[in-house]
Amino acid sequence: MRAVLTVIGHDKVGIIYRVSELLASCNVNIADITQTILQDYFTMIMIVETDACNCSFKELQEKLDALGTTLEMSIRLQHEDIFNSMHRI
């Protein structure tokens, strides 16, 4: 399935590196990536494919949570359906 990964917080060195390193170690493919500064916050959004992931969705979320704590950023992984259902007809 495709999921949306959102990283929000203060900009710093190595965010993309650390996140993509974790995703690679879990065998999660990054399909798309975009980043911007929204209201002074670094905001990165990745579309990832989790079908071949070597751990469960929940475990992946927990790993990302832990990384978020280390980086002092909010990292969130959500099924893309929530955005599709809300914003697309």
């Binding site: 949306v4 579309i47 959500q78 099924h79 359906d81 929530i82 809300m86 914003h87």
Partner: protein, 452 residues
């Protein structure tokens, strides 16, 4: 590529504006549990509920984690117990409530609704037994919710039931006096009861429903309030349009959750109930939405018009978003569960009379209102009759959930805790309705019920 602004908008709704799925309510039909033996009937009820709802909480938690949206409550609604237990011919139905409580504990849900009777036109012996058991049933359990349908546009108002309900509410409060009469907070009297409502305390599964059905209640007063902050000072066309668009987005999400849950639970997808259901948390208030429209305090002149617009726009946004909008859909105005309403009742801006007017245009009725503990049963019955009359004539659902707080009076507050919140006790009329309620009998169905 998904739009970055849309992603941040959705997540802002969840993080900062309290957008949540208020409840996934699994309706479980108990019609096939009926038996002439009470113990056997209760055993079947327990087995059926725990079998069908075994996965409810874990499925809810899994969807919550996948979508990243809080699913606040997982609940169960069952066939009205007065129907299921009728064959047992027993006077005491409290053991049935205890069975429901046990099933709720086993499945891990926080409320189970359906300790109910439908008596708009008359009683069966089981209906009478159930109503007589309500106070004790609510005192003996924590998670069981009870409702009694006392009227409908089609049937009129059963004034004998209205009289009984006044006494029942009083007794339910008296037996739970140690907790400010919380028993009465789990008891609703309905006119035009809805058979697929996922919200407590009035949820039950109607006899026209499938064996096992998922109904989802979405909320989001905070999201509507924030959307309206962006159009401050604009005319009402803009206000209505803004609410509609917001309601649309919220409902789409509710439908997604309902579909995922029904698939995972192997149950029918019932309805999405788009109700702006407040909680006592700041930023989650229907009262504050009305104030955002330009009212100094909810309850002042203009409140009914503001609420009418809100309720209607919510429905319009909802029906565009899903073909399965049902339940009560609209705006709830439970006083104790809404910080804006609490504040307004505290300062005297919100009175019982104004609340009654508001119920003519909101999605349900007089909800979670604390009144003095010495309010006579006949006065409570008369309030129920007034409220039922509004539903009767306007062909809408109305309900009464009043708590006559034992030992407390006007100016004091009742504390129920959790989602049920706290309520300033507001005055009722000091003039009696005794003789009116003593008449009993039946208020006939109105002319507008004859539609065929």
């Amino acid at each position: 590529m998904i739009d970055i602004n849309q992603i941040t908008e959705t997540n802002r709704m969840i993080d900062a504006q309290h957008l949540d799925i208020r409840t996934i309510t699994l309706g479980v039909s108990l019609l096939d549990c009926a038996d002439s033996d009470s113990a056997r009937c209760r055993e079947r009820i327990y087995e059926k509920i725990v079998t069908r709802a075994e996965q409810l909480v874990s499925v809810g938690e899994s969807i919550e984690s996948q979508l990243g949206i809080p699913i606040v409550n997982k609940r169960i609604a069952v066939t009205p117990i007065a129907l299921v237990a009728a064959g047992c011919r027993t006077e005491d139905l409290v053991p049935f409530a205890e069975t429901l409580e046990r099933a709720a504990q086993t499945t891990g849900v926080n409320f189970i609704g359906g300790f109910s009777a439908l008596v708009p036109k008359g009683f069966t012996p089981a209906d009478r037994a159930l109503i007589a058991s309500i106070p004790q049933a609510l005192a003996a359990t924590e998670r069981v919710c009870s409702s009694v349908a006392i009227g409908s546009t089609r049937a009129g108002i059963n004034m004998d039931a209205v009289r009984l309900m006044g006494r029942t509410v009083k007794e339910a409060a008296r037996l739970t006096a140690h907790a400010d009469g919380i028993g009465a907070a789990k008891l609703v009297a309905f006119c035009n009861a809805v058979e697929d409502n996922p919200f407590m305390a009035g949820a039950f599964l109607g006899t026209g429903e499938a064996d096992c059905v998922v109904n989802v209640g979405v909320s989001g007063p905070g999201v509507v309030k924030c959307a309206l902050e962006q159009v401050r000072g604009a005319d009402f066309n803009t206000v209505s349009e803004t609410i509609k668009k917001t309601a649309f987005k919220i409902t789409r999400m509710g439908e997604l959750v309902a579909r995922m849950a029904s698939r995972a639970l192997n149950a029918d997808f019932g309805i999405v109930d788009l109700s702006l259901a407040p909680t006592p948390a700041v930023g989650d208030s229907v009262g504050h939405i009305l104030e955002e429209m330009g009212l100094e305090r909810v309850g002042t002149h203009g409140t009914t018009a503001a609420l009418a617009l809100l309720n209607d726009a919510v429905k319009k946004g909802g029906v565009m978003a899903s073909s399965s909008v049902g339940g009560l859909s609209g705006a709830f105005i439970p006083v104790s569960e809404d910080i804006g309403m609490i504040e307004a009742a505290r300062c005297g801006a919100l009175t019982l009379s104004k609340l009654e007017a508001m119920t003519a245009v909101c999605s349900v009725g007089l909800d979670m209102i604390a009144v003095p503990g010495d309010t006579p049963a006949s006065t409570i019955s008369a309030i129920i009759a007034d409220e039922a009359a509004i539903g009767l004539i306007n062909q809408k659902t109305t309900a009464v959930r009043l708590i006559p707080v034992p030992g407390k009076g006007v100016g004091e507050e009742a504390e129920f805790g959790g989602l049920l919140g706290r309520a300033p006790i507001i005055p009722v009329s000091r003039y009696a309705s005794d003789d009116f309620i003593a008449r009993g009998g039946h208020i006939p169905a109105p002319l507008n019920s004859l539609k065929n």
